[in-house]
Symmetry: C2
Subunit: 235 residues, 2 copies
DNA sequence: CGCAAACTTGATGTTGCTCAAGCTAGGTGG
DNA sequence: CCACCTAGCTTGAGCAACATCAAGTTTGCG
């Protein structure tokens, strides 16, 4: 083992750089075969499992995936949701640190690990880009640590909705929740029931509207932000 | 802004590579001044604060530091404890993502960000090393996310003790807790009282011994590991 | 149209938090 | 050298937030 590399995709919905990696990966370069194969998965299908040998790096082309870790008794923690542009699967230990599954139909570009690492050594621009991605993921992970360790259920759900809204960038605050309440709960360290009740409460308080379960409208972004930031309980 | 770079030090006590960075940073290299200045801080002193402009990267030479984030009402989440060999302070956004403070007396090597980034571009070995560090931190952060989101108080404390033990590598399981119960609580998403009670309980169950508050002996490593892994409540 | 998965709502339970003392230990000064 | 003083630790009692258990309801798909 020589060229150890980087970057798992945490990308906790946060502002992960969405700069095309494929272009960087496949810039005219002699000696490396062109684009890796495209991989597609249907909702619910697994891309790889925690503990498997990590021989490929994937770039999300389209769709939504979730990453999770499990405890022996089945408790699940989702560590991130990934969108187009995100990178996943590079584990320095040689083993995937989480399971990756499709939430919606997904398409990914698969890159052989060896070629990926060669490129890291040969192209400073590429290495810098990957480093930047890893660093953004780390920042998002720390934000999630703050959320899980110190925020209330309402603060967690508010933070989540704003993250999704920022990532989707849809106008007028209408967002699409492609994942289930169970996925949201396992991402926020809550139960399905608490997520559901909290959304109902946010609706009652006129911070959001819920047309159908998977469509949320942000009615009071300032209020939601203040809640998410933890400015609501008095100090 | 051109050379964007990487790596905050999360290093959640986990198995962060402890390979000397200083050697890599200060390998014979023309054009870059030699070692950066040594910075020292007494216990409780701050190195930098969340939100400050991030113009330096630090390498821990000796001592223990803690990194934390705050909510407006004062709730604190410690995102990591750092030891010799760990790297901290490089934020791609140009602003530190957390506050760094000394727990014990510390010594750090300060590296100007510009020089650090130049070196990243010029030396693939160096970039690979930093990428590796960032990647290990990401893995540790995901482990911490699992802990915070899904583990019980007892499982959290057990995991913490084992992390510390692994990092200290002291023989015969006697470990030194240089941080206070309050620090431990804010790292695990608990209160001081719960940490204290949980340690008392672990002592009663003969998993550990507590000579003085800051010295813990691991009496039953297997039991502790099984607890930390979440194998104790039945499935 | 019917079925199953997902979601919501309610009633009850439990873990860990809050508030409140007392205890311990290490450092300082008399 | 000892006694005090304070920061940190432990322990207890009561409570609140969130989990669990248990129905119902909605939704989307075959």
């Amino acid at each position: 083992m020589h060229a150890q590399t980087v970057s798992q995709a945490y990308a906790g919905i946060g502002p992960t750089a969405r700069l095309g990696l494929t272009e960087l990966l496949h810039r005219p370069a002699p000696g490396i075969a062109a684009l890796g194969p495209l991989v597609c998965k249907a909702p619910g299908e697994m891309l790889f499992a925690e503990g498997e040998e990590a021989d490929s790096v994937y770039e999300v082309i389209r769709g939504l995936l979730r990453l999770h870790k499990l405890l022996p008794d089945g408790r699940r923690q989702i560590t991130g949701f990934l969108l187009a542009g995100d990178l996943l699967g590079l584990a320095p230990s040689g083993v995937y640190a989480y399971t990756a599954e499709a939430v919606t139909p997904i398409a990914l570009r698969r890159h052989k690990r060896a070629a990926f690492e060669r490129r890291l050594d040969e192209e400073p621009d590429f290495a810098r880009h990957v480093l930047r991605l890893a660093s953004d993921e780390l920042r998002a992970a720390q934000e999630q640590i703050l959320l899980l360790g110190r925020k209330s259920a309402a603060e967690k759900v508010a933070s989540f909705l704003l993250q999704i809204a920022d990532r989707q960038g849809t106008e007028e605050g209408e967002i699409e929740l492609a994942m289930t309440r169970g996925d949201i709960a396992d991402y926020l360290g809550l139960t399905v029931e608490t997520v559901s009740r909290t959304l109902t409460r946010l609706k009652q308080d006129a911070l959001i509207a819920l047309r159908v379960a998977s469509r949320v409208v942000i009615r009071d972004r300032d209020g939601l932000e203040s809640l998410a930031a933890g400015e609501c309980g008095e100090e």
